[in-house]
């Protein structure tokens, strides 16, 4: 069994994306805020993470970087919308970028391509104590 974390700030979009991911054989934890995503990631190592944002409000850390550190074996997909294109895909820890709207075929291709070509984690793995110190509570 594989496990996925889906972060979408819009609940309807989140549910739609979560259903798509679930249809691909994942047990999905859907969340609507970066803080909840981090809380989930500090408990569980996911196999797949789909996120619509790379930032945490009021926090200088990269959300995607933190998620990648917590789940170092996960494929991390970033869902790019008009509001995030300016970053030009430069997101720490992100393996693949998919465009809105999230379609089943695009998602499946991103997952299949991403899993096949997933590089070894480049990010430093924090010591447990350090990782927890950095947690958002």
């Amino acid at each position: 069994m594989k496990y996925a974390l889906v972060l979408e700030s819009n609940s309807e979009t989140c549910n739609d994306t979560a259903k798509l991911v679930a249809s691909m054989g994942y047990l999905v934890t859907p969340v609507f805020s970066p803080k909840k995503a981090l809380h989930a990631a500090h408990m569980i190592q996911f196999d797949l993470i789909v996120t619509c944002t790379a930032a945490m409000p009021g926090d200088r850390r990269s959300l995607t970087g933190e998620l990648a550190r917590c789940s170092p074996d996960a494929l991390l997909l970033f869902v790019e919308g008009p509001e995030t294109e300016a970053a030009n895909g430069q997101f720490e820890g992100v393996n693949r970028i998919i465009k809105r709207p999230v379609l089943a075929e695009n998602l499946r291709n991103a997952i299949n391509d991403g899993v096949d070509k997933l590089p070894p984690p480049l990010l430093p793995r924090w010591l447990t104590r350090e990782r927890r110190r950095r947690a958002v509570d």
Partner: protein
């Protein structure tokens, strides 16, 4: 949420009826509980050791406890020792995201221990091992 339900491929931990999850991090505990429920387990979530002891008295069908170690008040290790004394048949698995203090390291080996964040397969294996 439909994505966590109807999971025919999930395999429940054998012989496990009801799990008590003890963690002062409420959000994280609920996320784990939802995934465990999708594996066919009944899960009760509480956020302190005292609540856990009350739940064990009130819900005699609880046969396993998954507890965080570092909690305000009674620690998970103290809770585990109390449970073992009062409910010796209950399986116990401890978890923590913190480095375990030196004095607890020997005692922690009395119980299966997993480090947060953990893979769900690791958790399920620990629950089996705790039998």
């Amino acid at each position: 949420m439909p994505t966590m339900a109807d999971n025919p491929g999930a395999s429940p931990v054998s012989l496990l009826h009801k799990l008590l999850l003890v963690d002062d991090e409420a959000d994280g505990a609920e996320f784990v509980a939802a995934l465990l429920r999708s594996h066919g387990m009944a899960v009760t979530v509480v956020h302190s050791a005292s609540e856990a002891l009350r739940a064990l008295e009130q819900e005699p069908d609880i046969d396993a406890v998954l507890s965080d170690i570092m909690m305000p008040g009674m620690t998970g290790l103290e809770l585990a020792n109390a449970i073992r004394a009062m409910h010796p048949a209950v399986r116990i698995v401890l978890m923590s995201g913190y480095e375990i203090p030196e004095p607890l390291r020997d005692r922690e080996r009395d119980y299966p221990f997993i480090e947060k964040p953990y893979k769900m397969d690791t958790l399920l294996a620990a629950l089996r091992r705790a039998a």
